[in-house]
């Protein structure tokens, strides 16, 4: 194939496309006779923007209100999520602490409380003032018991 033929073929095809376009415009019922990227352009596109200005403002306000609501609800959701997360973390920490320390702490506390009760009871029972209220024979037995304990301990 020659270079000349190639160029003719190219130009011819281009011309044909232009013809097709003009034909499609001429044959169409659209009074404006305009296509844009294959879509038919209707009359309302050509209405002056000033006429739609009110509608545009209203639509803009409604749109912005919606977006404000969405942003507020999004922020509220994130705050609620944050609170729930903190609560969950605190519960986890408490459960973990309780599980870790429950077993060793409670017996120690019981022992401390029991020892304290025993000491308070002893201080009351073995105070000189209270001992003097007891019978002589009772004190005799108590003295012998304590001496026995001392001798066995030594």
């Amino acid at each position: 194939m020659e270079i000349k033929n190639i160029s003719q073929r190219i130009f011819r095809s281009t011309a044909k496309t232009a013809e097709n376009k003009s034909e499609s415009c001429a044959n169409h019922t659209n009074p404006f006779g305009v296509n844009f990227k294959g879509n038919l352009i209707k009359a309302d596109v050509f209405v002056k923007p000033a006429e739609n200005k009110g509608k545009m403002w209203a639509s803009a306000i409604v749109g912005s209100m919606n977006s404000i609501n969405e942003s507020i609800s999004r922020r509220l959701d994130s705050v609620v999520d944050f609170g729930n997360r903190i609560k969950a973390n605190a519960c986890d920490l408490w459960n973990q602490t309780r599980n870790n320390f429950e077993i060793p702490m409670l017996p120690n506390m019981k022992n401390i409380i029991n020892n304290a009760k025993e000491k308070i009871s002893d201080m009351s029972t073995y105070s000189v003032k209270n001992l003097m209220k007891r019978d002589r024979s009772e004190l005799d037995a108590m003295l012998q018991d304590e001496i026995t304990i001392k001798l066995l301990g030594a």
Binding site: K119, D122, M123, Y126, S127, V128, L131, M132, R134, R136, L139, D140, M142, L143, Q144, E146, I147, I149, K150, L151, G153, A154
Partner: protein, 120 residues
């Protein structure tokens, strides 16, 4: 409360008990105890009671109070006697023991303690 504190309180309670026969318990149980500390506490309580009966146990009885074989117990009893505010009863008993007691060791001890008390 430990055992020593309980013993000390029981001995003090017996020494200060309204029933005068409680001194008999201290003599029978306390001064015959094999433990030095119990004997020391008993002698101290009897001296502090400062009656003729209680002082007689620590001054006149052989092997008890100021005549105890344990130096610690004897010195503690002498120290309590020296600390008394009213020494009159103790001095009478010491004079009587110095002159009339059958045991030479008791008479010698009574003489020494009486001399100490006279100078204190």
């Amino acid at each position: 409360m430990n055992n020593d504190k309980k013993l000390s309180n029981i001995i003090d309670a017996l020494a200060n008990h309204e029933d005068q026969s409680s001194i008999e318990v201290l003599e029978r149980v306390g001064t015959n105890c094999p433990d030095d500390e119990v004997r020391r506490l008993t002698a101290r309580a009897l001296v502090n009671k400062n009656t003729r009966d209680s002082l007689a146990i620590v001054i006149v009885s052989r092997g008890k109070g100021i005549n105890d074989l344990s130096t610690n117990v004897a010195m503690s009893a002498i120290n309590e006697l020296l600390s008394l505010d009213d020494k009159s009863r103790a001095m009478d008993l010491l004079s009587d023991a110095e002159e009339n007691h059958e045991d030479e060791a008791v008479r010698e001890t009574a003489r020494s303690v009486k001399a100490l008390m006279a100078f204190s």
